[in-house]
């Protein structure tokens, strides 16, 4: 039985519909991310779960209770906002204890819970500081503690890391994930950063123009993107035009060179045009053996990116990039030299016609 149940949710502002008929079930203790570009409706859904926006249609249940029309304070959710939403006039302890104070808890209980939360976010000595005296990362940890202090059943995170520097972002997201696992709290996380979503989620909802393009585990989303949008938004990708040669056998041609795929081509007829996708890291230089596809072309550019070397190869018309791990012993291909590229049949993704 799922813990959060969203069904047929829709949100319109006037004539502009930002969320179309959205369905999602989230299990208890699950960490679900909404991933998508700005304006895709991910934040709107989060705010509908929180109760800051009212749904135009559809329903939201939390723990078996219909909450669609309940005010935010009665939904037992905690929320962390994009950045610096701490109350500036209250100390760290005052911020963390705010919800308990409103709930009318006595001082001893509040103090104990605040101390416990400060331990949890590893800032035990900063209770008497004011928000302006903290770094961005510390502020967001306090915001997390403030949201968790009242023991909500659901934690909502609205791009909580996007205002922080790169390094803090990585360490804080690991902390958030660890904390979430320890507490077993059902969590919804909104982000536009695919790496963030891939690294901490149990499941990812990829949003595009108010709809869920794909819902799945990180590896599912990355390895088997359901739509062209998902494929291009999550990770880097070579998109190539291809012609279907034999749908039943999985045979196609790219720029006149034959390739095979294990993907289902039954939706296509002979000689249909389609788009195929290849991840740069799935490609290797050199001829493959019989199981692998091989394409040949000319090296057009070699870019040194640190851990990875990105090589661009031109077939007759199409270009594709491939990634090599940096190895000092590696002989870098020369520009203008002929090159063969090989890849496994299952790495050739066939995009639908959308």
């Amino acid at each position: 039985m799922s813990f959060i149940e969203i069904s047929h949710l829709r949100k319109s502002f006037g004539a502009n519909t930002v969320v179309h008929d959205f369905d999602l079930s989230i299990d208890k203790g699950e960490f679900v991310s909404f991933l998508g570009p700005s304006g895709c409706g991910k934040t709107t859904i989060l705010r509908m779960i929180a109760g800051f926006e009212t749904a135009s249609a559809g329903a939201i249940q939390i723990g078996g209770t219909e909450v669609t029309h309940l005010p935010p304070s009665r939904r037992k959710v905690g929320m962390v906002f994009q950045a610096y939403a701490l109350f500036p006039n209250l100390t760290v302890a005052g911020n963390i204890g705010f919800g308990l104070k409103i709930a009318g808890k006595d001082k001893g209980e509040i103090d104990a819970r605040v101390a416990e939360m400060l331990e949890l976010i590893k800032l035990p000595d900063l209770g008497s500081r004011y928000p302006y005296q903290l770094s961005g990362g510390q502020q967001q940890r306090v915001a997390l503690a403030r949201a968790l202090a009242v023991k909500p059943e659901v934690l909502l995170l609205d791009e909580p890391l996007s205002a922080l520097d790169a390094k803090i972002r990585v360490s804080l997201r690991e902390e958030i994930r660890a904390l979430q696992r320890d507490l077993g709290i059902t969590t919804v996380f909104v982000t536009h950063d695919q790496e963030e979503a891939l690294s901490i989620s149990d499941r990812i909802v990829v949003m595009n123009e108010g709809r869920a393009d794909q819902i799945g585990t990180p590896s599912d989303i990355y390895n088997n993107p359901a739509t062209r949008f998902v494929a291009s938004f999550v990770g880097t990708l070579n998109l190539l035009e291809a012609r279907v040669v034999d749908p039943a056998a999985g045979r196609l041609s790219i720029d006149g060179q034959p390739v095979m795929t294990t993907r289902d081509l039954s939706a296509f007829g002979i000689a249909d045009e389609t788009t195929v996708a290849l991840r740069p890291e799935a490609l290797t230089l050199g001829d493959g053996n019989g199981d692998r596809n091989t394409l040949s072309g000319t090296v057009e550019e070699v870019a040194f990116l640190g851990a990875v070397i990105r090589v661009r190869v031109r077939l007759s018309e199409a270009r594709l990039s491939l990634d090599l791990f940096n190895d000092p012993a590696l002989q870098l291909p020369r520009i203008g030299a002929p090159a063969a590229i090989s890849f496994k049949r299952e790495d050739l993704l066939v995009m639908d016609r959308r």
């Binding site: 929180a50 109760g51 800051f52 005010p71 935010p72 304070s73 939904r75 959710v77 905690g78 929320m79 906002f81 994009q82 939403a85 109350f87 500036p88 006039n89 209250l90 705010f98 919800g99 104070k101 409103i102 709930a103 004011y130 302006y132 915001a143 403030r146 949201a147 009242v150």
Partner: protein, 293 residues
């Protein structure tokens, strides 16, 4: 405070342009702002022969002078507190959303105009509105049969002057407090709401305390603004209303108190009062900036 700009002379330039550029302003400030003020302050502590005395300050404690200070303070406090409260509410209504978008710029522009519409013309406007022959006075008599003057209202009184002063106090408050209200972040309210706070609790624990320093600071500024005003009151009432600026005006014009140094003492008293209110203003500003970076 001496003007000692010479040590800052930049080595690169032969002519100390910076000093040349700053000197006229410094000279002006000393001659036409600091010296005149100091002259009065020193004079307040001197007798006619020029020796030190506290007698001038002592003679401020006469019923007429105390009464004039008192009514000035009353009018300034009333117009500042009312102006601040009403101005803050209008500013909040204009910027907090829910109203059409053209409201905010219109309110701000109009406040800019009305806050500068003071002095003698403002007195004329209120005479035409609430004077004995004023439009509103006649209108009330005609429609409701109530002659407000028969019921004790008088434009040349405490309330009359307070209502008139509000015409520039409210817009001034709107101008000062709007940036502070716009500084209230939507997320604070949402965070408070989701933690269970009611609207009242949000204002009581978060928005109120955050706004309080700017609000009190602005109120003190309005106080000083009303306390030093004279033109409106003088044009309205001649010298019939005994506020301290009018008393000082009369003293300067005709030495009505027959004691120059007592005039200095009155001026000194005014500086002390406005100075104190501004000191509080600065302290509050420092506090509010501490919170909001």
């Amino acid at each position: 405070m001496a003007v000692s700009a010479s040590p800052a002379r930049p080595p690169r330039l032969r002519v100390p342009w910076a000093v040349v550029g700053v000197a006229p302003f410094m000279a002006f400030a000393v001659l036409f702002l600091i010296l005149p003020t100091l002259f009065l302050v020193v004079g307040a502590f001197q007798d006619k022969a020029g020796s030190f005395t506290l007698a001038n300050l002592g003679s401020l404690w006469t019923p007429t002078i105390l009464a004039s200070y008192w009514i000035s303070i009353k009018i300034s406090v009333a117009s500042a507190v009312l102006g601040a409260a009403i101005g803050a509410f209008i500013a909040y209504a204009a910027v907090s959303g829910g109203l059409p978008h053209w409201i905010r710029p219109t309110v701000m522009t109009f406040s800019g105009v009305a806050s500068q519409f003071a002095g003698v013309p403002l007195a004329f406007a209120f005479l035409a509105t609430l004077g004995r022959q004023g439009l509103v006075t006649l209108f009330l008599t005609w429609i409701f049969g109530v002659n407000i003057y028969a019921h004790g209202f008088n434009l040349l009184s405490f309330w009359g002057l307070t209502i008139t002063y509000l015409y520039f106090q409210i817009p001034l408050m709107v101008l000062i407090v709007t940036p502070a209200i716009e500084g209230l972040r939507k997320e604070w309210r949402e965070a408070a709401t989701i933690l269970g706070a009611s609207t009242w609790q949000y204002w009581r624990h978060i928005a109120g305390p955050v706004l309080m320093p700017s609000f009190l600071g602005a109120t003190l500024l309005l106080f000083a603004n009303a306390f030093g005003a004279i033109a409106t009151a003088y044009a309205l009432t001649g010298s019939s209303l005994n506020i301290v600026t009018i008393l000082l005006y009369a003293q300067i014009r005709g030495d009505v108190l027959h004691d120059q140094n007592l005039g200095y003492a009155i001026a000194f008293g005014m500086i002390v009062i406005t100075g104190l209110s501004n000191l509080c203003y600065i302290l509050l500003r420092v506090r509010s900036e501490r919170w909001l970076k």
